[in-house]
């Protein structure tokens, strides 16, 4: 083993169930800072749930998660997950951002307001500074001219770009992308994936991307995880996983999705 620095995200034996349905059944994962990880696998395999647990939208029953060495979830003596004190939990959560499949833009706010609201209310940035920065991010996603529009006036692809700008404006160290192209018309997908690729190349954020686009996973990411039945069945370099998968389940999955 090389004595590489401590991984930025450390996940230990993470379990999550919905009623009787065990969705995550012992996830163990280390991710170094700046890595771009694509998460693939059949639906219901737990990919999105892992992201939602990291974003604290779901609470795991069991397991530990460390972000930069600080516990987001830890275990008490009886094997149950506990959270750190509220302020610490919130501070840690604010280092994580998420983009959703259905965009979830705030419909009662303009595009600009969607992007500035959290920096102003959560980080305490002045409106003026927040606006200047929001325009920078909107420009980055190619939508500066839509700053005063309402979400209802945008196409799906434009909405998703705004959602990405909104998440970027919080300067997250970790960014979670949950099937962000699945609700888009096919011709809009390429632009969003190119944007992800550009963000990943900069190595400024650690990115976890749940995606059904195998070409993107193979060409743009540093690493690919294959989920099946609530565990990580395969974890490695994209080329290795796509050319020499070690499990039959991976081969079957890749065969079925690549043949479509």
């Amino acid at each position: 083993m090389t004595d590489s620095p401590e991984p930025f995200i450390q996940i230990r034996d993470l379990h999550k169930s919905f009623g009787d349905l065990k969705v995550l059944q012992g996830i163990n994962l280390d991710i170094p800072a700046g890595e771009m990880v694509s998460v693939i696998g059949p639906s219901g395999s737990g990919k999105s749930t892992l992201l939602r647990v990291l974003m604290t939208l779901e609470r795991p029953e069991q397991g530990e998660v460390l972000i930069g060495g600080e516990p987001l979830y830890s275990m008490d003596g009886e094997g149950h997950t506990t959270l750190p004190p509220k302020a610490q939990f919130r501070a840690l959560r604010n280092r994580i951002g998420m983009v959703f499949q259905h965009f979830n833009l705030f419909p009662h706010m303009t595009v600009l307001r969607n992007v500035t609201e959290a920096p102003v209310r959560v980080l305490g940035v002045s409106r003026k500074d927040a606006k200047a920065e929001a325009m920078k991010y909107l420009d980055e996603v190619g939508l500066a001219e839509k700053a005063d529009a309402y979400p209802a006036q945008l196409s799906g692809g434009q909405k998703q770009r705004v959602a990405i700008a909104r998440a970027l404006a919080m300067h997250p160290e970790i960014m979670l992308f949950d099937e962000i192209t699945s609700a888009l018309d096919p011709e809009l997908v390429g632009g969003i994936l190119a944007l992800l690729d550009r963000l990943g190349k900069r190595k400024e954020m650690t990115m976890l991307i749940v995606t059904h686009h195998m070409n993107f996973a193979r060409q743009s990411s540093d690493r690919v995880l294959f989920f099946d039945g609530g565990v990580i069945l395969e974890d490695g370099k994209p080329d290795d996983i796509f050319t020499h998968p070690t499990h039959d389940r991976t081969r079957e999955f890749l065969k079925s999705v690549l043949e479509v």
Binding site: T56, R93, F100, H102, A118, V122, A152
Partner: protein, 223 residues
């Protein structure tokens, strides 16, 4: 029965209408406050607030407004609290409609897409900020049409206060009917007056709804 235009009846009836409008306005004000508090209480994460809101809603929704009025006016004095008829009227109208309004508020908040709350959490908003800045502004628009019904119901219930001798439109109408026996004219005018006020309320609320929903995607789901 007289066929002369009943203009002479208008002045006293309009005085009664003035009282009815006061009752309605006061009742609506109280109703909105209570509906907001109890509606938010019902979706609160703090159990005692939820219980309190539920008890209030169930009691006032589950008993007769007329009996509530008798109780506030005739029973409270036994406990040393004597209310002016007008005040008792406004309290009962507000408390009664507020219970229905609370359900409207609760329903509208819960109808905002779950994704909105998740996006707010992901951006680091506190639960309070999420409620006031993200959920409520969206919920308000969908509260208006059902709230309009609650307000109109309140207006119509205001006629009940004539039994505790508030000189509202209905009370004045009964007095004049007894004096003049011009039953058809009086009660026709009274019907028209109630209808006119209800129309005013209904149109005002539609106007508010249009104003607030300008530029917005109301569903909130696709945005």
């Amino acid at each position: 029965m007289s066929f002369a235009p009943p203009f002479d009846l208008l002045p006293p009836l309009l005085v009664g209408l003035g009282k009815t409008l006061q009752l309605t306005a006061g009742g609506i004000l109280l109703c909105v406050l209570l509906a907001l508090f109890a509606g938010l209480g019902k979706v609160s994460g703090i159990p005692p607030l939820r219980w309190l809101a539920n008890i209030y809603v169930e009691i006032f929704r589950g008993t007769s407004a007329l009996v509530q009025l008798f109780w506030f006016f005739f029973v409270l004095p036994f406990f040393g609290v004597s209310l002016e008829p007008m005040l008792a009227g406004i309290l009962v109208l507000g408390l009664n409609s507020g219970a229905y309004g609370a359900e409207v508020v609760r329903g509208a908040i819960q109808a905002v897409s779950h994704g909105q709350k998740e996006a707010a959490t992901a951006l680091g908003f506190t639960p309070r900020q999420t409620l006031w800045r993200i959920l409520l502004p969206q919920a308000v628009v969908s509260m208006l049409p059902p709230m309009s019904n609650v307000f109109i119901e309140l207006l119509k219930n205001s006629a009940l206060v004539s039994v505790i001798s508030v000189h509202d439109l209905t009370f004045v109408a009964q007095i004049h009917r007894a004096d003049s026996l011009r039953t058809t004219a009086i009660f026709s005018i009274v019907l028209v007056l109630y209808f006119a006020v209800a129309q005013g309320l209904s149109r005002g609320m539609s106007f508010l709804e249009k104003r607030l929903s300008r530029g917005r995607d109301l569903g909130g789901v696709k945005a």
